[in-house]
């Protein structure tokens, strides 16, 4: 099985532990990731705050590159990247004029032929049975609170992935691997990652709400599939503890970390050791 791979800036920068985890996990599962040649940034929040055209053009360039390389399915593990790519793809598919305009702007023909998938969808494509056949280690010591954040399911009409209010796809995977996911209330609440530098105060409040709720419902780890959520909840946790004088001690892991552990990979191989809040393996 092979997927095109669009790491995005985060996975090549401050969230390179996510890339490490994803790659290790898929190596073990025999899934090949072919990184998109000369990809560029998707533009993230900045592009659609400053110039809407750019917010379509930057992902469109990547779509065009993917198409040119004959890539049918492109994995973007970062939900922000994946959402921007999907949004651009739909705009291009829906309107001939946009298609022509974008092909002109990005200097490559683009039709939106490449399908964009997120990390969870890749696991679904591999199949739970195939994953289970390679499991060496049960995750039964973990009570994960699966945290989807904003952009894995929103906007639902664009992404058409899982239930936008009560998603359950990560739980399904983790339950199969032996973990006992908890029911909690903030699966899709925003952690404020986008504001982590500009407005740390609010971010700490939001992060507190989420981590505390997960803890209250008995979770011993928060599992996410978003580099920004992970970074934010992990790195800002010290500030949360300080502000609310509350011991949280909630490790924040990637979905691929959890799957990787079940496949017998070590925390070092997965980059879990580089997280701020330590996961007791």
């Amino acid at each position: 099985m092979e997927f095109g791979y669009y790491p995005g800036c985060a996975l090549h920068g401050s969230s390179n532990d996510y890339e490490q985890s994803v790659r290790a996990c898929f190596d073990k599962l025999g899934v090949k990731l072919s990184e998109l040649e000369d990809w560029i940034c998707c533009g993230a929040t900045a592009a659609h705050s400053i110039n809407q055209k750019l917010a379509t053009a930057l992902p469109a360039r990547n779509l065009a590159i993917a198409e040119k390389s004959g890539c049918a399915n492109l994995l973007a593990p970062c939900p922000m990247c994946s959402m921007e790519l999907i949004k651009a793809r739909q705009a291009i598919q829906a309107d001939e004029a946009v298609r022509e305009e974008m092909s002109e702007i990005v200097e490559l023909p683009v039709t939106g032929a490449t399908e964009i998938v997120n990390l969870i969808q890749v696991f679904q494509a591999i199949g739970l049975d195939a994953i289970k056949s390679k499991v060496t280690d049960s995750l039964d010591r973990f009570k994960p609170a699966c945290y989807y954040g904003c952009l894995l399911t929103r906007p639902p009409k664009t992404l058409r992935f899982d239930d936008c209010e009560h998603p359950s796809s990560m739980e399904t995977i983790l339950r199969e691997l032996g973990a006992e996911p908890v029911e909690w209330n903030y699966k899709t609440e925003c952690c404020g990652a986008g504001m982590t530098l500009c407005d740390p105060g609010t971010v700490v409040d939001l992060a507190h709400k989420i981590i505390a709720n997960a803890k209250k419902h008995g979770a011993n780890v928060i599992v996410t599939a978003c580099p920004m959520c992970q970074m934010n909840l992990d790195m800002r946790q010290a500030d949360v503890v300080k502000k609310f004088a509350e011991s949280l001690d909630m490790p924040i892991c990637y979905l691929s970390d959890m799957v990787g552990l079940a496949l017998g990979l070590t925390p070092e191989e997965l980059g879990i050791n580089r997280h701020y809040v330590a996961l007791r393996v």
């Binding site: 920068g13 390179n16 000369d38 990809w39 940034c41 659609h48 360039r61 702007i105 929103r154 500009c198």
Partner: protein, 197 residues
């Protein structure tokens, strides 16, 4: 000198691909907004301001930059108004007209610096981005306190190999990225001018 409210509304609607008059002000967007509690004008009010043609007043609101783009508002809107898209449009208008709420000029500078960074490198170089932003922002507000905030986050990031002075793999064709930026800027300009004619 005042601009036609009609034209401004049309601009917002075009940028956001939505019809603001669909909104019946039910407040569900504000109800679900994680930041509504701190906003000067919640999403419901922003849309109302656009409906009444007070687009520039809306664009100058702090809340435009307090939005975390979580899309909860758009997702739950009973009338399928693209509220987050309207906020994005207001951001763009506020930047283009330089009417951003003073308190959030740092945020705008960050976004601009972010794009400049991509324009130059094709991808973000986080260390360069943060350094450049802190610098321009310092020259904007002269606050050493703000400039140095978060510096303490840097060391543990470095020790965790999460920050790099040189990003992993550079983009080869950087010129095309620049051309994409320039074309998008030019398109926006010509579209606005057309509308004004």
């Amino acid at each position: 000198m005042s601009e036609s409210p009609k034209r401004l509304i049309a601009d917002v609607e075009r940028l956001a691909h939505t019809q603001v008059n669909d909104c019946y002000q039910c407040g569900k967007c504000t109800a679900g907004c994680p930041r509504a509690g701190v906003m000067d004008a919640g999403p419901t009010r922003l849309i109302r301001l656009v409906q009444t043609g007070d687009v520039l007043e809306a664009a100058a609101c702090e809340s435009v930059w307090q939005c975390v783009s979580c899309l909860t508002c758009t997702t739950r809107c009973p009338k399928s108004v693209n509220i987050a898209g309207v906020v994005d449009a207001l951001r763009q208008i506020s930047v283009e007209r330089n009417i951003t709420a003073r308190k959030y000029s740092r945020t705008v500078l960050f976004q601009k610096e972010f794009l400049r960074n991509i324009r130059r490198n094709g991808r973000t170089n986080e260390l360069e981005l943060v350094a450049a932003w802190k610098l321009v922002a310092f020259f904007d507000d002269w606050s050493p306190f703000k400039a140095l905030a978060d510096a303490r986050l840097g060391i543990p990031m470095l020790t965790r190999h999460k920050l790099h002075f040189k990003p992993g793999s550079p983009v080869k064709d950087k010129a095309v990225v620049r051309r994409i930026f320039d074309r998008c800027a030019a398109k926006r300009k010509s579209e606005t001018e057309q509308e004004q004619d």
